[in-house]
Amino acid sequence: MTVTSASPQNTRLMRTLSVLRDVVSRPSGAIGLFLVVFHVVLALVSPWIVPYDYKAMNSAMMLTGPEATHWLGTDHLGRDVFTRVLLGGREALLVTGIATPIAVTWGGFVGILFGLIGGRIDEVLMRVVDAFLSLPWILKMLVLIVTFGTGIEVLIPTLAFFYGIPVIRIARAATHDVVARDFVSAARARGHSRMTIIRHELLPNVLDTLMVEGAMRWSWMLLAFSSLSFLGFGVSPPTPDWGLMIADARGFMSFAPWGVLGPVIALSSLIIGINLTADALAKALGIDRAQKAPV
């Protein structure tokens, strides 16, 4: 008798596709995914499609309004705003795009580990995590940035470290939930090793939660990144970045608002896109999320 058994890869692929279909079928998911993909593609191709060099300063044309040659006008140094807006997301997406998976991975790993260990060690760890979370985010990041500088080699690990900490709590809670289920006890009773139980029973059920959490982390990291740039602790000029651009253009808002509006719309649309996608993803995976203030 020939038996076709579904290989693990097939099942995973089928599931990913069906989840994707579910996400796109919802209006929030469709819009969100479109925005995210749009921005990622833009970040990738923008260096080849921009009309000007982002550094090129033109002292003759400072703070001019939108016109044929400069679609969004020029900034206070005569640089083309449109060019800088198109390029403004690259650094942000690069940094957060790398830092988010790292944050979710390490936070998830530690969270699952301590969720399984339990007992005193777990309690002590949670105290330390709570202590960490009680400090203002800006302080934590600035300590590292001021010590080590503002290059992306500092920003990525910093963001990855600090944004991984809340993931520990979430992974731990999810682990507790799953471990209480009978199928985990059943696996234990069969005598499977701890690693096998983690890989086969625990992870597939915890990963969903982590994925949704990852999407949300990404949006908060972007917020933090642009806030840092805004405050002057992130990207260094003349690199174009939306947060930095808003900070620079703020002073001239009263008579030259386009310098602000461009990056505002770009940044907002990306973050909204990620949030909508995360929302639709959570619904598609059947996860209930309690909204908390961003940490």
Binding site: M1, V3, T11, R188, A189, R190, G191, H200, P204
Partner: protein
């Protein structure tokens, strides 16, 4: 008032499915309930019985709509009333007693407040007397210390107490009709029996009509005058309780009755194969056609009408006249059992288990255990190939013992030995691969015991890979073979648990256990989460596997009839201590331990001519007493101080039937025979 109190005419209720089609949950239901009458609505999951009961109140769950027909209460259409009118009737003239009062009582309001609310809305009582009246109601539902209960929150009450409080709340408005939606599900046997007696008495004393929805035919037999049987959203049979339960004329009803295990019959019940159609899946013909032994071609193409017969019955079947050919009981197999002495497969040696580990305080004070153990003094030997049944109510420790044998919960005292006299390591992590393979555990709830993210193939592969190192084709081959043994086709391999029914999932769980080719299989309430007709199929399967594999079972259940059907020997547990142990036939007959007597007396058989005996209160005990007999606080045959202070000795009965009591077996036999005679008189 003339005319029926509740008049449901030809209602059809449905919802819009994903594809946009309307899927029916109820189809052309006619039901009349007269004043003072008790009607039972019987059905399994998916029959629509709860929807029908709620529709009688003019209420449909979110997403459902009334597609046809009308529901009238006291002559007025419930779906045409204004919201204010409905608010007046519901909880007043027409009251509901919900399925799970623990979840149906608002957690942030005290019991007293919720009762007073009901009084304020519906009772004709002056405000100053609300409290007094509420306490009176709690007394009428036989709650001890009503004044104290008034100040408690719902979660502080036991299941039985919560249910009584809900009944009290329903009575506040002096209803003319009560709707009860599975009110005793999840309650202990003795509690259930007491609550049903209460309901019977209340209905009779107040002349209330009752609509009792349940899957439990025993409860319905006790409480109802007429019975309505539902299947796949239709009423298929209606008649007096006697007619429906003793001589049903619909094949489904007959199949249902045949699949119920009975205390009086040692044979296995007969399974009803297949499962009910999903809403909208019934097709053109009779909804039962796929599972009916009398089905012919005509049954598939046209739907039978609901025909009223001169006998007072009504049936929806083309071939009801042949229905009596289908056996009601007794054609099931006699369970496979042993002959002659067999070596011991499992020996529990003075086993004690405690859930609470000694804490810091205890260690400081020099105590090496935290108080009274949850389970104590368990001494049982199970022979190879035998099935040992463990019965008891909640708190009896039966599941705890299984977990200890499985190694999930190490005992705090005593030890466990298996075949060949080898001691079993207390924790599963320290057991040898041989022991791990030979002892398998099957859980109660298949929704929880199968990983929702794994396919059936992956689920079955786990033990095969772990114990036999199978891979590739050999693995697939074996998986299909195992599925075949539990009567599931190989096409199930690619499915996820969510695509299977409850019965199918449990069969996969059984297949997974047997994949290891175990010597000992531990069954923890494996049929309790299943529908009645599916339960029989699982029992049949377990018996089959035992006959072919020679497996030893330890079978835990709170359902005495189910345990009787499968077990060779039975142990009765109370508060984690053994009361009685012996061959099933002996344990289920007199003489019995007083607790066994109480348990057996409280069982409700689906026979209106039988009545339960309630000899003890349904007080829920939270922990066993520190010394003496564990049953000392509730025993109707208590001798006196000796029961409180001295551990009762084992009294030897016939063969290896033992009872742990201060009474001698002869005394018990005499007293219990007298009691039985008194009942008959």
């Amino acid at each position: 008032m003339t005319g029926p109190l509740i008049d449901i005419r030809n209602i059809s209720v449905g919802f819009t499915g994903k594809s946009g089609a309307t899927l029916p949950v109820l189809r052309n239901i006619d039901l009349k309930v007269n004043a003072g009458e008790s009607i039972g609505i019987v059905g399994e999951s998916g029959s629509g019985k709860s929807t029908l009961a709620l529709a009688a109140m003019g209420y449909l769950k979110r997403g459902l709509r009334l597609m046809d027909g009308s529901v009238a209460f006291q002559g007025q259409d419930m779906f045409a009333r204004t919201r204010t009118e409905l608010e007046q009737i519901r909880g007043g003239e027409l009251a509901l007693i919900p399925q799970n009062s623990g979840q149906s009582l608002t957690p942030t309001l005290r019991i007293g407040a919720q009762l007073v609310e009901a009084l304020r809305l519906h009772a004709d009582v002056p405000e100053a007397q609300y409290s007094a009246k509420a306490i009176e109601l709690l007394g009428q539902v036989r709650l001890p210390d009503p004044a104290a209960i008034m100040t408690r929150f719902p979660h502080e009450l036991s299941g039985g107490q919560q249910q009584r409080a809900a009944i009290g709340m329903a009575l506040a408005g002096e209803p003319t009709a009560l709707l009860l939606d599975e009110p005793t599900t999840g309650l202990d046997v003795t509690t259930q029996a007491h609550i049903l007696e209460l309901l019977r008495d209340i209905a009779r004393d107040r002349g209330m009509a009752m609509v009792y929805v349940s899957h439990d035919l025993g409860a319905i037999a006790r409480v109802c005058d007429r019975v309505v049987v539902m299947y796949a959203g239709e009423v298929v049979l209606e008649g007096s309780t006697r007619q429906v339960l003793k001589t049903p004329i619909h094949p489904y009803a007959r199949g249902l009755l045949a699949s119920i295990p009975r205390l009086s019959d040692p044979r296995l019940p007969v399974a009803l194969d297949g499962r009910p159609p999903a809403p909208g899946g019934a097709g053109q013909g009779c909804s039962f056609v796929d599972r009916c032994a009398l089905a012919q071609d005509g049954c598939r193409t046209s739907r039978p009408d609901f025909e009223r017969l001169p006998s007072g019955e009504a049936v929806r079947c083309f071939h009801y006249q042949e229905a009596h050919q289908l056996s009601l009981t007794g054609s099931g197999a006699i369970p496979a059992s042993l002959d002659g002495a067999s070596p011991s497969a499992l020996h529990l040696d003075d086993l004690a288990i405690s859930y609470r580990r000694p804490g810091l305080y205890d260690k400081v004070l020099g105590r090496d255990s935290a108080g009274v153990p949850t389970v104590d003094g368990i001494e049982i030997t199970v022979a190879k190939g035998e099935t040992l049944g463990l019965v008891g109510e909640s708190g009896s420790g039966k599941s705890t013992i299984l977990k200890a044998i499985a190694g999930l919960l190490p005992p705090s005292g005593g030890k466990i030995t298996v075949a060949g006299g080898q001691a079993l390591a207390p924790e599963v992590e320290h057991r040898s691969p041989d022991h791990l393979r030979k002892i398998q555990l099957i859980f109660q709830n298949p929704d929880d015991s199968l990983n929702p993210r794994q396919t059936i193939a992956q689920i079955l592969e786990q033990p095969l890979k772990l114990y036999f190192g199978l891979t590739g084709d050999a693995l697939h081959q074996r998986s299909a073979e195992i599925l075949d043994r539990v009567r599931l086709g190989a096409h199930y391999l690619d499915r996820l648990p969510s695509q299977l029914s409850g019965g199918e999932k449990q069969r996969v769980a059984i297949a997974r256990a047997f994949a290891a080719e175990p010597d000992l299989v531990l069954c923890d309430e494996v049929t309790s989460a299943l529908d009645v007709s599916v339960q029989a199929a699982v029992l049949d399967l377990l018996n089959d596997l035992k006959a072919t594999q020679g497996t030893t079972y330890v079978f835990v259940s709170h359902d005495l009839a189910v345990v009787r059907a499968l077990s060779d020997r039975v142990a009765v547990l109370y508060q984690g201590r053994l009361c009685e142990l012996g061959p099933s036939a002996d344990v289920y007959a007199m003489p019995s331990h007083p607790y066994t007597e109480v348990l057996l007396g409280a069982v409700l058989e689906p026979d209106p001519d039988t009545a339960p005996t309630l000899s003890a209160d349904d007080v829920v005990e939270l922990s066993p007493p520190a010394q003496g007999c564990p049953f000392q606080r509730r025993c109707p045959r208590k001798i006196g101080r000796i029961c409180d202070t001295d551990t009762p000795p084992w009294q030897q009965g016939v063969k290896d039937h033992t009872i742990k009591c201060h009474h001698s077996i002869a005394d018990l036999a005499a007293a219990q025979a007298e009691g039985a005679a008194g009942q008959r008189a």
